[in-house]
Symmetry: C2
């Protein structure tokens, strides 16, 4: 059985104020072309289909169009799960009805892992569709107080849904999976989720599966074993990914469930890369329509460098000064410089910038309390 | 052929801060029960499925569940169009795929009216699914500069999609349709759309159809002819509707396309009604869990009347004083009183209430400019 595994589509994502819809449409053409060429038995979408639980209408239209093309025109079944970025109910919409069209989707975990059976000449392959679910949801559904992390949730979920190891079994899920001694390659786009330690899931739970198609990490990689894989995101969504190559993962499962794997490369409409130089040097370069992070090496003051650069580089996403100087204080404070400061410091700077006086000690204490509360809420 | 016609479901609507989801779920049980009893050949949903283009997740889940029950459990095809409240792309999601499950939906008008053919013992019945579309959209699609109103849009749309009058034809659409000399019964919930005159559509365009299943107006009514009908909203969504009875419309089309019609009543979980009396009189009444507009007849000052009333009437939606007095100034200003003031006056009052001083003339001028701009934007 041949499978095409994609993850982290993030339809509707906006990166540094640029909508990625056109870029997403562009690489989807390549995905469809691979489907035409390699004729997989199914397309697997391992979560984070949308970038937000309430995606923009155009992202919904893009996914709808893609599904129609794959299912109706290319006659290829699609199996999908929701990721942590997706709205469970939106992904779940009409899921019972879509099965007639061979679109099998699990948006919301409901104690039973959705099982879909596809067949090839050697017999059945069982697909288990396990969407992202917060561990508190799993704890409540299974009435199991021992569930205190996503790792616990995976343990309990899989234990409650035993598989028949004499058949071939594939798990499709969305999680931050770590091997025994594996180096995990994460990017800025998913860093936020990783902090805290409660987020990771041991690969040890996946022993019984012949293939585990993962979503969540944006870099293409295997976890411990060849059969546990991230296909990675369709596009670079952060400059921390600029050195990586994007691909989709093609898997062939033989009669015994033995696996061979091929990475099929994706070429973006616009690459994402960093260029460095003085303003003068950069303006002498040929026009470039990639998404750029520009690091200026100039020492002195610069007059409207962004306006000048945009003429040559219309898709500048970030502009930084290697040696931070006066010219870029205030509203031009670079992202890099911002990231080195705490939220408290940033607020103090902002206040001082606008009011011309320092924040009082009492105000500082208030701000700290507010920031703590906001952080707490956004982690819940 | 037997049809059950519903309109204006408005899933996810919030009326005076109360979510209607539970109420909607309650009447949907009655709809399903009618489907079980009367076994229609199809369920028609005439737009405004959701209350907003981006509905809350629970509304999406409610509609998904309802569709599954009607299509899978009750084995009844569903035909639906988007209304002016719906997001075209959201309603359109997966529409080609859903057809395999006998859910036929048109969310976005694309120059061709979607045609669905169902059959009974007398032959085919053609259903034309025409979603709400702004006239500017129709003008652009048809490249027709004469389209300057929704009436023009309907004329051009229907002219471009001719029907075979020798067969039976049903139109499912969402519009404010007016007959020649008909009294139109509108409620507060849809008043906003009607203002301006560009919104109404003549019923004259519908002559060729055997039945026109309309959505948009919330009161059950026919327009000019028995065969052009609003089923009305599932629930009362405004106190202007309190005297009306809600129902779904059952239509039987005979071999010749001749029509008989029956209104099947819906009973709400909580009715919507107005009660009047002094605070003392009302507190002596038996507990009532309907949605209430309470008009107090007291003359003197009242201390926390809402808190007292809530104990007896937990679902008070509006509280008014027949003779407006001091006790209800400020945050307790009633809706009725608010509606009698201009936006400029309301802002002046608000400013004075918070700052303890009157708005300066310069500030008044600024506010007027801002209000004008906001109005202009919200009309565009």
């Amino acid at each position: 059985m041949r499978l095409l595994h994609l993850g982290d589509l993030h339809f509707g994502k906006v990166v540094n104020s640029f909508s990625m819809l056109e870029d997403q449409r562009y690489v989807l053409e390549q995905v469809k072309s691979y489907i035409k060429t390699y004729q997989p038995d199914a397309l697997l979408l391992a979560g984070d289909i949308y970038d937000r639980s309430v995606p923009p209408a155009r992202a919904v239209a893009l996914y709808s169009e893609f599904l129609k093309e794959v299912l109706v025109e290319l006659k290829t079944p699609v199996l999908a799960v929701a990721g942590n970025h997706d709205g469970a109910d939106l992904i779940n919409f009409g899921h019972e009805l879509f099965e007639a069209a061979h679109y099998y989707v699990a948006g919301r975990y409901t104690k039973e892992i959705k099982k879909v059976v596809l067949r090839d000449e050697f017999g059945p392959v069982n697909f288990y569709l396990l969407p992202f679910a917060d561990y508190a949801v799993v704890r409540e559904l299974h009435e199991d107080e021992t569930v205190k992390s996503l790792d616990d949730a995976m343990r309990v979920t899989l234990a409650a849904n035993p598989i028949d190891a004499t058949e071939r079994n594939v798990l499709l899920t969305h999680a931050f999976v770590v091997g025994q001694s594996e180096e995990i390659l994460i990017s800025d786009s998913e860093k936020k989720l990783v902090v805290g330690g409660k987020e990771s899931v041991s690969s040890a739970y996946f022993e019984a599966f012949d293939y585990v198609a993962l979503g969540h990490l944006h870099r293409t990689q295997k976890v411990g074993s060849d059969k546990i894989r991230y296909s990675g995101s369709l596009l670079k969504y952060s400059f921390s990914e600029e050195q990586y190559h994007k691909s989709v993962t093609m898997i062939d499962l033989d009669e015994a469930g033995k696996l061979s794997c091929e990475l099929l490369p994706l070429t973006p409409l616009r690459d994402m890369k960093t260029i460095k130089g003085t303003l003068e040097e950069l303006l002498a370069l040929p026009r470039c329509e990639d998404y750029l992070r520009i690091v200026l090496l100039d020492k002195g003051e610069l007059i409207e460098p962004m306006a000048k650069l945009r003429k040559n580089f219309p898709y500048v996403m970030m502009l930084e000064l290697e040696q931070n100087n006066q010219a870029f204080k205030g509203s031009q404070l670079t992202k890099q410089a911002r990231q080195q400061k705490t939220a408290e410091q940033l607020f103090s700077d902002f206040y001082e910038h606008h009011k011309g006086e320092a924040l009082s000690e009492a105000a500082k204490t208030s701000i700290q309390t507010i920031i703590k509360e906001v952080r707490k809420e956004s982690c819940e």
